[in-house]
């Protein structure tokens, strides 16, 4: 069976991290979402992958190439115009040899292999299958109704405030007849699913383990936490150097050629990517993922945060519940304020307006290549656009 992964879309809601990469190229707990997807596919016996790309496709091609390194074959299909999921799928028809195939939305992340389950249901019933999951909030998704045989009996595209049920989890086993349906319905994929439910039926497969669809920037933190929660043991590369007294607790992952200076405390689960440097007396608390080639200056505290890589965190800083894009750097003494004064849920001012995050602890989102000078304080939910510069905050 082949798998189609949709990785073309550019979702502005993930700003400031989406301008320079497509969603599957977001790095969480040290690895790209796409990396995770492909590894799970391979473990489920799927080696032929059709990857639909457009936005920032060069990065995907640079990192994944032909797939050889991961032991899979990747065929790239370019969706020239971003005309939705149905359209993205329709242009893959010639690559799919008129056989059932697996459709995977590239922006979903799971903590266990979901493809084993969906293929199991498909093999058992020889029917088209949709994976369904219960998200934290069903508002962002269309709801599905399930009958007692786990067939989907209804789709509710826009659920009201008092409805919350299982939603499509972005994984499907579909038959080639979907292409006829797409043609009939002007590439409207929701309409196709509805017609399938009304005619041949669409079987649900429940996913009850960790699942997240990346919509807003804070979902990066939620996903990071989800992946790291499954870590049970510490993994420290032989080439890593822990100088003097370094205190380690729990599932600490340290990549090759990392240097950690004396006096630092690492509380797992946490991740330090290859070739990074952690200065003396730092405190790296749980759910911190420091991307490769990063520097954390003396006496800094990191907590529940994702650093994409090539970051520089100046000495005596606090980075909590925050995301730093690739190559973002901060001067000494940065403080991210990670809650409101009355501990009310943080409200974020995004490019698309005000969004209630529902999260009590939330810091800042710093885009790629942002340069922050010395001694800045970032408020809860602050968003700093990629490439922006903030000069030193000096008193004299």
């Amino acid at each position: 069976m082949k798998a189609v992964i949709l990785a073309a879309n550019r979702s502005t809601r993930l700003s400031p991290f989406i301008e320079t990469r497509c969603k599957p190229m977001i790095r969480i707990a040290g690895q790209y979402i796409l990396d995770n997807t492909i590894r799970f596919l391979k473990a489920a016996g799927i080696h032929d992958i059709v990857l639909v790309v457009n936005h920032q496709q060069e990065l995907v091609r640079d990192v994944f190439g032909s797939g050889q390194e991961l032991g899979v074959n990747i065929e790239y299909v370019v969706q020239d115009e971003l005309l939705g999921i149905g359209h993205a799928l329709s242009i893959c028809q010639s690559s799919l040899e008129k056989k059932p195939f697996l459709l995977v939305y590239g922006d979903v992340l799971t903590d266990n292999n979901p493809f084993l389950s969906i293929l199991q249901t498909y093999t058992e019933l020889d029917k088209e299958v949709a994976m369904v999951a219960l998200p934290d909030s069903s508002k962002e998704f269309g709801n599905v109704y399930l009958d007692h045989e786990m067939k989907i009996s209804r789709l509710v595209e826009k659920p009201s405030d008092d409805q919350a049920n299982y939603v499509f989890a972005g994984m499907f086993v579909l038959f080639p007849k979907i292409f006829e349906l797409l043609e009939k319905n002007n590439n409207d994929i929701s309409r196709c699913y509805e017609q399938m439910i009304e005619t041949s039926g669409l079987q649900a497969c429940l996913w009850e383990k960790g699942w997240i669809d990346m919509i807003h920037p804070w979902h990066i933190l939620v996903a990071n936490r989800m992946l790291m929660s499954s870590w049970e043991t510490a993994e420290i590369d032989n080439s890593a150097e822990l100088r003097g007294h370094v205190h380690l607790e729990g599932a600490v992952w340290i990549g090759p050629n990392v240097t950690v200076e004396s006096g630092t405390v690492l509380k797992g689960p946490c991740y330090i990517g290859a070739d990074s440097y952690i200065g003396n007396n730092s405190l790296i608390r749980n759910y911190s993922a420091i991307g490769p080639n990063s520097i954390v200056g003396y006496g800094s505290e990191l907590k529940n945060c994702v650093l994409f890589g090539r970051n520089d965190v100046g000495r005596l800083s606090f980075v909590g519940d925050s995301v730093l894009g690739e190559n973002a750097s901060t001067g000494p003494g940065l403080t991210t304020v990670n809650h409101t004064i009355d501990f009310s849920p943080v409200i974020c001012q995004t490019g698309q307006g005000t969004v209630e995050t529902g999260l009590v602890k939330l810091g800042a989102f710093v885009g790629d290549s942002v340069i922050i000078g010395a001694r800045h304080v970032l408020g809860p939910g602050a968003i700093l656009n990629s490439g922006s510069t903030f000069p030193d905050s000096v008193t004299l």
Binding site: N143, H148, N165, C205
Partner: protein, 605 residues
Amino acid sequence: MCGISGIVHSENFGRNLLNSIRNLEYRGYDSCGVAVIQNGKIDLRKNIGGIDDVNLKERLDQMQGKIGIAHTRWATHGSVTQENAHPHLSANRKFAVVHNGIISNYQQLRERLLSEGVCFESLTDTEVFVNLLEKSFAESNDLEQAFLTALQQIEGSFSIVMLSSHDPEHLYCVKKESPLLLGLGEGCNYVGSDINAFLEYTRKAVVLDEGEYVILGPNDYQIRSLKTGKKVNKSVLQIDWDLETSKKGGYSHYMLKEIFDEPQTVRQAMQIPKEQISAIAEMFDGSSRSYLMGVGTTYYVACISQYYISTIADRYYSALSSDEFSVVDIHKGDMVLAISQSGETYDTKTALVNAKDCGAQTAAIVNVMGSTISMMVDHVIMQGSGPEICVVSTKAALAQTFIMVRVALELGLIRGRITKKVYQKYQRDLEEFPEIVEKILNEQSGFVRNIARDTSHVEHWLFLGCGVYYPVAMESALKMKEVTYQHAEGMPAGFLKHGTLSMVESAVHSLFFVPPPEQKELHERTLIAMEQVKSRGGTVIALIFQGDDRAQGLASQSVKIPPVSTLFAPLIQMIIAQMFAYYAALDLGRNIDKPRNLAKSVTVG
């Protein structure tokens, strides 16, 4: 639901055939049987009981041969007897058939065959078919033709596998509306109601579609369309998962599967004939003293019934836990109603025996047909909920409660406590209930899951309700304890201030079962208790009905249920509490279907 299987050529033949139905046992387990061809003759062994019981009696695993069929039954119509168990033989014992489904026109066919001089051993529709086969074969002397001719005469839904001593190399199978699959091995082939029948032996399967029939040999199979007679080419599926997962049909746990079965279960309970329900109501009405009895979940079902009967029929009957039933001094003319899923519960059986000895009339609501309790009482209602596999009872408990609401309504009518008009209004409400359950399951799961996950770390719970919501709270607390292993205590909301309030603090969470605001008095009493908990710094979670702003204001989190008839508002909360316990246990990584230290049917004292 029944399970059927067949094997053509296999090593360890008897054992494999037995295992094939053992793996289908979750489809039904009140009787089973096997037919094989040995020395050119059909050897048939069948009996009532679970598969291992029947094997002990009949030594099914010792059966010798190369080709055979097997069946495990879950009776929905017709009693559980050795005669009614499958396989069924034709009068000349040259044909044997196993069948899953219903032949709807079997009465007419049976009468016709009787008039033609055919003798029947059982009352089943299946025996009609097997004799039709014998007749057709006598006319055509062609087995395939005879199979097709007999099939043309029957109507209904069925999957059938036929074995005949006229062709000891092939099984004849057909699928119409009931499932049937082929399993392809090396030099031996299999057929079964689902893949579990042969998953131990082969991973290659062919799924039959509607209106297809197969002639299955050891090395070959031919699938044809019943309608056109044309050969159908089917793809062979490679199955690569384990047996345990496949039985749950896409659900990760039986518990959730069984919760999602509930609309169907309640529909079944609605179909129980009115006469059967009124028979129990009349027994209550005619007795001097009546008791409701169950143990564990069924005791709480009895407690809930107590409230329904009291409010609708103005009669108070004591609900007792079966293990404490000896406290009652039973006399002739008393009536005891027992509730048991398995019909084998030791404590309930013992109490019933005593009650009978003292001259009481007895009745029962039971899920497993042919079970001891169902056979020993004067009147039994089979709830027809289908096998319940998860140790924690969900759909069976709901169906029992639903049936007891029906009993309360009948009793109310008999005793003149409700008018015909009110009775009819309630009947209409009951008919709408399955759809409402479906809607609740499909629109509230997300909210319930989120609250369950946020609070799964809570080690101490108080489950509180007033009136009928109090036994619902107790049953829900039991569910919570069983499946999450966390401490949950159900009690009347008004009881709280008489002692338990002293343990309330922020770490102790209270789940309130808040009645709809139109049940003013109960609603008010519940809200007073909520205020008591809240003002002492306790955390309040509430199951409320939409629009109940006062209750919502008192709760830190709440599930807002769409408005429903007050008749079954408590039942809806019971379902939501089942989901709540499920999602909490899921988050805690508990062994949901088989919680530690528990067994499905407690048959020992």
